[in-house]
Protein backbone atom coordinates (compact mmCIF):
# COMPACT_ATOMS: atom_id res chain seq x y z
CA UNK A 1 0.00 0.00 0.00
CA UNK A 2 1.53 3.29 -1.02
CA UNK A 3 0.42 6.67 0.20
CA UNK A 4 -0.54 9.33 -2.33
CA UNK A 5 2.78 11.05 -1.64
CA UNK A 6 4.96 8.20 -2.76
CA UNK A 7 4.44 8.65 -6.46
CA UNK A 8 5.27 11.65 -8.54
CA UNK A 9 2.44 14.11 -8.74
CA UNK A 10 3.88 15.45 -12.00
CA UNK A 11 3.65 14.13 -15.52
CA UNK A 12 6.48 14.45 -18.04
CA UNK A 13 5.20 17.76 -19.35
CA UNK A 14 5.00 19.19 -15.82
CA UNK A 15 8.57 18.16 -15.14
CA UNK A 16 9.80 19.72 -18.36
CA UNK A 17 8.12 23.04 -17.57
CA UNK A 18 9.40 22.98 -13.99
CA UNK A 19 12.94 22.40 -15.27
CA UNK A 20 12.56 25.31 -17.65
CA UNK A 21 11.15 27.43 -14.88
CA UNK A 22 14.14 26.67 -12.69
CA UNK A 23 16.49 27.57 -15.54
CA UNK A 24 14.56 30.77 -16.15
CA UNK A 25 14.70 31.95 -12.54
CA UNK A 26 18.33 30.92 -12.30
CA UNK A 27 19.12 33.00 -15.39
CA UNK A 28 17.15 36.03 -14.20
CA UNK A 29 18.21 35.96 -10.58
CA UNK A 30 21.18 33.68 -9.94
CA UNK A 31 22.06 32.77 -6.39
CA UNK A 32 25.40 34.40 -5.46
CA UNK A 33 28.15 31.83 -5.94
CA UNK A 34 29.56 32.13 -2.42
CA UNK A 35 26.29 31.77 -0.54
CA UNK A 36 26.31 27.99 -0.10
CA UNK A 37 29.86 27.97 1.20
CA UNK A 38 29.07 30.82 3.54
CA UNK A 39 26.00 29.08 4.97
CA UNK A 40 27.84 25.76 5.29
CA UNK A 41 30.53 27.48 7.30
CA UNK A 42 27.98 29.28 9.48
CA UNK A 43 26.04 26.15 10.45
CA UNK A 44 29.07 24.27 11.77
CA UNK A 45 28.03 25.05 15.30
CA UNK A 46 26.88 22.98 18.20
CA UNK A 47 23.23 23.33 19.03
CA UNK A 48 22.10 25.51 21.87
CA UNK A 49 22.75 29.00 20.58
CA UNK A 50 20.66 31.95 19.59
CA UNK A 51 21.12 34.05 16.47
CA UNK A 52 22.48 37.59 16.28
CA UNK A 53 21.02 38.92 13.05
CA UNK A 54 22.70 41.43 10.79
CA UNK A 55 20.71 44.57 11.46
CA UNK A 56 22.78 47.08 9.53
CA UNK A 57 25.66 47.19 7.09
CA UNK A 58 27.23 50.51 6.16
CA UNK A 59 30.10 51.45 3.93
CA UNK A 60 32.36 53.86 5.78
CA UNK A 61 34.35 56.73 4.39
CA UNK A 62 37.66 55.36 3.16
CA UNK A 63 41.09 56.65 3.94
CA UNK A 64 44.16 56.12 1.79
CA UNK A 65 42.26 53.92 -0.61
CA UNK A 66 41.47 51.36 2.06
CA UNK A 67 37.85 50.21 2.15
CA UNK A 68 35.91 49.97 5.38
CA UNK A 69 32.48 48.89 6.44
CA UNK A 70 30.53 48.61 9.63
CA UNK A 71 28.20 45.76 10.51
CA UNK A 72 25.82 45.63 13.45
CA UNK A 73 24.51 42.32 14.78
CA UNK A 74 21.76 42.08 17.35
CA UNK A 75 20.08 39.35 19.29
CA UNK A 76 16.94 40.65 20.97
CA UNK A 77 17.51 43.61 23.24
CA UNK A 78 20.29 41.95 25.17
CA UNK A 79 23.21 41.25 22.88
CA UNK A 80 24.67 43.58 20.28
CA UNK A 81 27.93 43.43 18.40
CA UNK A 82 29.22 46.19 16.19
CA UNK A 83 32.29 45.67 14.04
CA UNK A 84 34.20 48.00 11.77
CA UNK A 85 36.20 46.18 9.14
CA UNK A 86 39.08 47.91 7.48
CA UNK A 87 40.91 46.13 4.69
CA UNK A 88 44.66 46.75 4.56
CA UNK A 89 46.69 46.90 1.38
CA UNK A 90 47.84 43.32 1.87
CA UNK A 91 44.23 42.09 2.06
CA UNK A 92 44.31 41.46 5.80
CA UNK A 93 41.59 43.06 7.85
CA UNK A 94 41.58 45.11 11.04
CA UNK A 95 38.44 44.58 13.10
CA UNK A 96 37.46 47.25 15.63
CA UNK A 97 34.50 46.13 17.65
CA UNK A 98 32.19 46.81 20.50
CA UNK A 99 30.21 44.20 22.33
CA UNK A 100 27.36 44.46 24.76
CA UNK A 101 26.70 43.37 27.44
CA UNK A 102 30.26 44.06 28.60
CA UNK A 103 31.90 41.10 30.28
CA UNK A 104 30.66 38.68 27.64
CA UNK A 105 33.13 36.32 26.08
CA UNK A 106 33.84 36.63 22.39
CA UNK A 107 35.22 34.10 19.93
CA UNK A 108 36.26 34.58 16.34
CA UNK A 109 35.62 31.51 14.20
CA UNK A 110 37.51 31.09 10.94
CA UNK A 111 37.74 28.14 8.59
CA UNK A 112 40.78 26.89 10.45
CA UNK A 113 40.44 28.00 14.05
CA UNK A 114 38.34 29.38 16.87
CA UNK A 115 40.14 32.10 18.79
CA UNK A 116 39.08 33.85 22.01
CA UNK A 117 39.14 37.65 21.66
CA UNK A 118 40.10 39.92 24.56
CA UNK A 119 37.52 42.59 25.30
CA UNK A 120 37.89 45.65 27.51
CA UNK A 121 35.63 46.17 30.55
CA UNK A 122 33.54 48.42 28.31
CA UNK A 123 33.23 45.67 25.69
CA UNK A 124 35.68 47.07 23.16
CA UNK A 125 38.05 44.88 21.20
CA UNK A 126 40.52 44.95 18.33
CA UNK A 127 41.57 42.14 16.04
CA UNK A 128 44.47 43.66 14.22
CA UNK A 129 45.34 41.33 11.43
CA UNK A 130 42.59 38.92 10.45
CA UNK A 131 43.17 36.86 7.32
CA UNK A 132 40.67 37.37 4.51
CA UNK A 133 37.96 34.73 4.29
CA UNK A 134 34.86 33.63 6.12
CA UNK A 135 34.48 34.51 9.78
CA UNK A 136 31.77 34.18 12.37
CA UNK A 137 31.47 35.67 15.85
CA UNK A 138 30.27 33.69 18.83
CA UNK A 139 29.30 35.60 22.00
CA UNK A 140 28.86 33.93 25.36
CA UNK A 141 26.97 35.96 27.93
CA UNK A 142 26.14 34.84 31.45
CA UNK A 143 22.95 33.24 30.21
CA UNK A 144 23.34 32.36 26.56
CA UNK A 145 25.48 31.60 23.55
CA UNK A 146 24.83 33.79 20.53
CA UNK A 147 26.21 33.24 17.02
CA UNK A 148 26.27 35.63 14.08
CA UNK A 149 25.86 34.71 10.43
CA UNK A 150 29.16 34.30 8.65
CA UNK A 151 30.65 37.30 6.88
CA UNK A 152 33.38 37.49 4.29
CA UNK A 153 36.42 39.52 5.25
Amino acid sequence: MTSPFDTSPFDAEDLRVLDELRDLHTALDPMPPGLVECAQFAVDLDEGFDIARIERTEELAVTRGESARQITFECGDDVALMVQLQVHDDGHVRIDGWLTPPGSELELRTATSTTPVDTSPQGRFVIDDAAPGLVQFVVRTAGATVATPAIVL
Binding site: T2, D6, E13, V17, L18, D23, L28, L35, D50
Partner: protein, 186 residues
Amino acid sequence: MNIGDRTFAGAAALFAAARDGDRRAFHELVAVLSPLLWHVARSQGLDRETSQDVVQTAWLSLVRDMRQIRNPLALAGWLITTTKRECWRVRDRRRAEVLTAVEPDGADPAPGPEDLAGLDDQKRRLWAAVALLDERCRELLRYVAFIPRPDYAMIADALDMKHGSVGPTRKRCLDKLHAELRGGGS
Protein backbone atom coordinates in the same frame (compact mmCIF):
# COMPACT_ATOMS: atom_id res chain seq x y z
CA MET B 1 7.53 0.38 -1.30
CA ASN B 2 10.55 1.00 -3.47
CA ILE B 3 9.07 4.16 -4.78
CA GLY B 4 8.46 5.26 -1.23
CA ASP B 5 12.05 4.59 -0.24
CA ARG B 6 13.36 6.45 -3.22
CA THR B 7 11.16 9.41 -2.50
CA PHE B 8 12.61 9.57 0.95
CA ALA B 9 16.24 9.43 -0.20
CA GLY B 10 16.54 13.14 -1.03
CA ALA B 11 16.62 16.16 1.23
CA ALA B 12 14.43 14.48 3.84
CA ALA B 13 16.98 11.69 4.30
CA LEU B 14 19.82 14.22 4.46
CA PHE B 15 17.94 16.11 7.12
CA ALA B 16 17.32 12.97 9.15
CA ALA B 17 21.06 12.24 9.04
CA ALA B 18 21.95 15.85 9.86
CA ARG B 19 19.66 15.75 12.88
CA ASP B 20 21.59 12.72 14.08
CA GLY B 21 24.78 14.78 13.98
CA ASP B 22 26.08 14.08 10.47
CA ARG B 23 27.69 17.38 9.48
CA ARG B 24 28.46 16.35 5.95
CA ALA B 25 24.80 15.57 5.45
CA PHE B 26 23.98 19.02 6.79
CA HIS B 27 26.42 20.63 4.35
CA GLU B 28 24.87 18.68 1.52
CA LEU B 29 21.43 19.78 2.64
CA VAL B 30 22.56 23.42 2.57
CA ALA B 31 23.87 22.94 -0.97
CA VAL B 32 20.68 21.26 -2.15
CA LEU B 33 18.12 23.61 -0.61
CA SER B 34 19.84 27.03 -0.58
CA PRO B 35 18.62 27.84 -4.11
CA LEU B 36 15.05 27.35 -2.87
CA LEU B 37 15.63 29.68 0.08
CA TRP B 38 17.32 32.24 -2.16
CA HIS B 39 14.26 32.39 -4.40
CA VAL B 40 11.92 32.55 -1.42
CA ALA B 41 13.81 35.58 -0.14
CA ARG B 42 13.95 37.21 -3.56
CA SER B 43 10.25 36.60 -4.17
CA GLN B 44 9.57 38.63 -1.03
CA GLY B 45 11.22 41.66 -2.62
CA LEU B 46 14.50 41.80 -0.70
CA ASP B 47 17.68 43.02 -2.37
CA ARG B 48 20.47 40.54 -3.09
CA GLU B 49 22.65 41.36 -0.12
CA THR B 50 19.82 41.17 2.41
CA SER B 51 18.57 37.97 0.78
CA GLN B 52 21.94 36.37 1.47
CA ASP B 53 21.73 37.37 5.13
CA VAL B 54 18.20 36.01 5.36
CA VAL B 55 19.16 32.66 3.81
CA GLN B 56 22.00 32.27 6.30
CA THR B 57 19.74 33.18 9.18
CA ALA B 58 17.21 30.60 8.06
CA TRP B 59 19.92 27.91 8.08
CA LEU B 60 21.13 29.00 11.51
CA SER B 61 17.52 28.81 12.69
CA LEU B 62 17.40 25.24 11.46
CA VAL B 63 20.49 24.28 13.48
CA ARG B 64 18.94 25.92 16.51
CA ASP B 65 15.48 24.40 16.13
CA MET B 66 16.29 21.09 14.44
CA ARG B 67 14.73 18.94 17.15
CA GLN B 68 11.38 20.64 16.75
CA ILE B 69 10.93 19.25 13.27
CA ARG B 70 9.93 15.67 13.91
CA ASN B 71 8.84 14.78 10.40
CA PRO B 72 11.70 15.23 7.90
CA LEU B 73 9.12 15.71 5.14
CA ALA B 74 8.08 18.94 6.83
CA LEU B 75 11.55 20.43 6.31
CA ALA B 76 10.98 22.35 3.08
CA GLY B 77 7.78 23.86 4.41
CA TRP B 78 9.49 24.80 7.65
CA LEU B 79 12.39 26.44 5.82
CA ILE B 80 10.10 28.35 3.46
CA THR B 81 8.06 29.67 6.38
CA THR B 82 11.16 30.56 8.39
CA THR B 83 12.76 32.37 5.45
CA LYS B 84 9.58 34.34 4.77
CA ARG B 85 9.31 35.29 8.41
CA GLU B 86 12.89 36.60 8.34
CA CYS B 87 12.03 38.60 5.22
CA TRP B 88 9.02 40.17 6.90
CA ARG B 89 11.14 41.03 9.92
CA VAL B 90 13.61 42.88 7.72
CA ARG B 91 10.83 44.67 5.87
CA ASP B 92 9.07 45.74 9.05
CA ARG B 93 12.28 47.10 10.46
CA ARG B 94 13.04 49.00 7.27
CA ARG B 95 9.56 50.42 7.19
CA ALA B 96 10.11 51.66 10.73
CA GLU B 97 13.39 53.25 9.69
CA VAL B 98 12.11 54.77 6.48
CA LEU B 99 11.05 57.98 8.21
CA THR B 100 14.63 58.88 8.94
CA ALA B 101 16.55 57.04 6.26
CA VAL B 102 17.58 58.46 2.91
CA GLU B 103 17.79 55.01 1.38
CA PRO B 104 14.61 53.76 -0.19
CA ASP B 105 13.08 50.46 0.85
CA GLY B 106 15.35 47.63 -0.20
CA ALA B 107 12.75 46.11 -2.48
CA ASP B 108 14.18 44.79 -5.68
CA PRO B 109 12.02 45.27 -8.74
CA ALA B 110 10.90 42.48 -11.04
CA PRO B 111 13.25 41.87 -13.96
CA GLY B 112 13.19 44.70 -16.48
CA PRO B 113 13.50 44.65 -20.27
CA GLU B 114 17.29 44.64 -20.07
CA ASP B 115 17.24 41.43 -18.00
CA LEU B 116 14.82 39.75 -20.37
CA ALA B 117 16.85 40.78 -23.40
CA GLY B 118 19.50 38.26 -22.42
CA LEU B 119 17.07 35.32 -22.54
CA ASP B 120 16.50 33.00 -25.45
CA ASP B 121 13.09 32.79 -27.13
CA GLN B 122 11.96 29.78 -25.18
CA LYS B 123 12.70 31.41 -21.83
CA ARG B 124 11.09 34.66 -22.91
CA ARG B 125 7.97 32.79 -23.90
CA LEU B 126 7.90 31.05 -20.53
CA TRP B 127 8.40 34.34 -18.72
CA ALA B 128 5.49 35.87 -20.63
CA ALA B 129 3.28 32.92 -19.68
CA VAL B 130 4.34 33.07 -16.03
CA ALA B 131 3.58 36.78 -15.94
CA LEU B 132 -0.06 36.01 -16.74
CA LEU B 133 -0.48 33.80 -13.69
CA ASP B 134 -1.78 35.16 -10.43
CA GLU B 135 0.77 36.03 -7.76
CA ARG B 136 0.15 32.94 -5.68
CA CYS B 137 0.67 30.57 -8.61
CA ARG B 138 3.82 32.41 -9.68
CA GLU B 139 5.26 32.11 -6.20
CA LEU B 140 4.21 28.49 -5.74
CA LEU B 141 5.65 27.32 -9.04
CA ARG B 142 8.88 29.21 -8.44
CA TYR B 143 9.31 27.32 -5.16
CA VAL B 144 8.28 23.95 -6.61
CA ALA B 145 10.86 24.38 -9.35
CA PHE B 146 13.62 24.61 -6.73
CA ILE B 147 12.62 21.70 -4.50
CA PRO B 148 14.83 18.78 -5.52
CA ARG B 149 12.93 16.28 -7.61
CA PRO B 150 13.13 13.19 -5.46
CA ASP B 151 11.34 15.06 -2.72
CA TYR B 152 7.83 14.99 -4.10
CA ALA B 153 6.44 14.25 -0.70
CA MET B 154 8.19 17.31 0.64
CA ILE B 155 6.68 19.42 -2.08
CA ALA B 156 3.23 18.22 -1.18
CA ASP B 157 3.89 18.88 2.46
CA ALA B 158 5.42 22.29 1.88
CA LEU B 159 2.98 23.75 -0.55
CA ASP B 160 -0.36 22.06 -0.60
CA MET B 161 -1.29 20.66 2.75
CA LYS B 162 -1.10 24.03 4.42
CA HIS B 163 -3.72 25.28 2.03
CA GLY B 164 -5.97 22.44 3.05
CA SER B 165 -5.85 20.61 -0.24
CA VAL B 166 -3.34 18.07 -1.43
CA GLY B 167 -2.46 18.64 -5.03
CA PRO B 168 -5.16 20.80 -6.56
CA THR B 169 -3.47 24.17 -6.09
CA ARG B 170 -0.21 23.01 -7.55
CA LYS B 171 -1.97 21.21 -10.36
CA ARG B 172 -4.19 24.19 -11.11
CA CYS B 173 -1.17 26.50 -11.36
CA LEU B 174 0.73 24.11 -13.61
CA ASP B 175 -2.30 23.56 -15.83
CA LYS B 176 -2.77 27.30 -16.20
CA LEU B 177 0.86 27.66 -17.16
CA HIS B 178 0.57 24.87 -19.72
CA ALA B 179 -2.51 26.55 -21.15
CA GLU B 180 -0.76 29.92 -21.41
CA LEU B 181 2.23 28.29 -23.10
CA ARG B 182 0.01 26.51 -25.60
CA GLY B 183 -2.40 29.28 -26.39
CA GLY B 184 -0.86 32.48 -25.12
CA GLY B 185 1.68 33.06 -27.85
CA SER B 186 -0.37 32.13 -30.87
